[in-house]
Symmetry: C2
Subunit: 202 residues, 2 copies
Amino acid sequence: MSERPQYLSAEERRAATVQAVVDLAAEQNPADITTTAIADRMGLTQGALFRHFPNKDAILEATMTWVGERLLVRVDKAAEGAKSPAAALEAMFMAHIDFVAKHPGVPRMLFGELQRSGETLAKRMVQTLIRQYEQRLRRLMEAGKVQGELDADLNVDAAAVLFIGTIQGLVMQSLLAGKVSRIRRDAPGVFAIYRRGIESTK
Amino acid sequence: MSERPQYLSAEERRAATVQAVVDLAAEQNPADITTTAIADRMGLTQGALFRHFPNKDAILEATMTWVGERLLVRVDKAAEGAKSPAAALEAMFMAHIDFVAKHPGVPRMLFGELQRSGETLAKRMVQTLIRQYEQRLRRLMEAGKVQGELDADLNVDAAAVLFIGTIQGLVMQSLLAGKVSRIRRDAPGVFAIYRRGIESTK
DNA sequence: ATAAAGTAAGTGACCTATTACTATCCTAAC
DNA sequence: GTTAGGATAGTAATAGGTCACTTACTTTAT
């Protein structure tokens, strides 16, 4: 128990900053997370943030990097363990839902970032993240079509859009209810309908 | 053609203000539409807005009223003309997509409003709007189940969430591509999968 | 003539980023 | 080991900008 304050290293502070942003986004509108709010959450003064980041956008970029890495890794690992394409899609979905339930601010940050006017780096990072995500979906779906598990006439592009929309719908519902727990509760039922829409009729 | 400026009535200005907000939301991040931007769009000075609205939130409230009325009316009219519940759902979906394609800022405003921290009136208006919307969906789906057109085991609540998520996914895709035209192009394919997910297997 | 609509110029609040200064850490020489 | 001293992390204060809203005054409509 140190009485006196203790300085953290640059890398530790960067990680702690990202964590603060992710946590704050879960509690309030991501659009108005101020540098003061981030610093307060970390027990620092506002100016201290600019020792580790050149500007606020750089903080958002670091956060997007964190999100991209964590989300894709978790989703990939979930898909790996599945024994069929359709099972992999379901595992991917549930891993994603689990991630979102733990970090409810994340999908809201991504959506907000996409809406920003300028050509910011953070925005482009979100775009490539989603495109990578969709690519994984399409690959799995093509495999499922070949295997006969998924509808042979399935429009993969549309199915990928709907996959993401499914999550977005659940996020919206949790915002409506004001309860994050809704996401986990409603996810299986919603995915069941989605699955029915892409499966082959046996 | 009047050379000299001409004053509009209070009601005309209120309507013009709402239109300016809806138009601006289509072009930029709804979150940072300033009163100055609204006034500029109308050819007024910023302060003039406060002759017709007590504060900025009141402008948003008026906009939400406008959205709610227009959207529900159009969607209801579309559903009316259909000859079966499933057809009504599809007509409702397409009418909604048509509305969103014409006013791309609207779904983004709604989502943004839901994220606001406080218990603002505009936020509550969005909540009730979506609940009314879902109620219509559930009613149609129950009718479709009774009629045998939709899956007898369909989870209507989940299906309503997914219906809205479907639109949200299309909006996200249009943001990714930067083209609103994407929405209209991709809508039929996405809805086809949705429909397959809720229909009864004949 | 009186009320309503609009203007121009503020005011205060808040937000990002900078600056001048201080505290802590780390390492190399004694 | 202790300690001088540079590098790094942090503070407090503030500059500069933007935004919502107000006020004093002017223009238009009835």
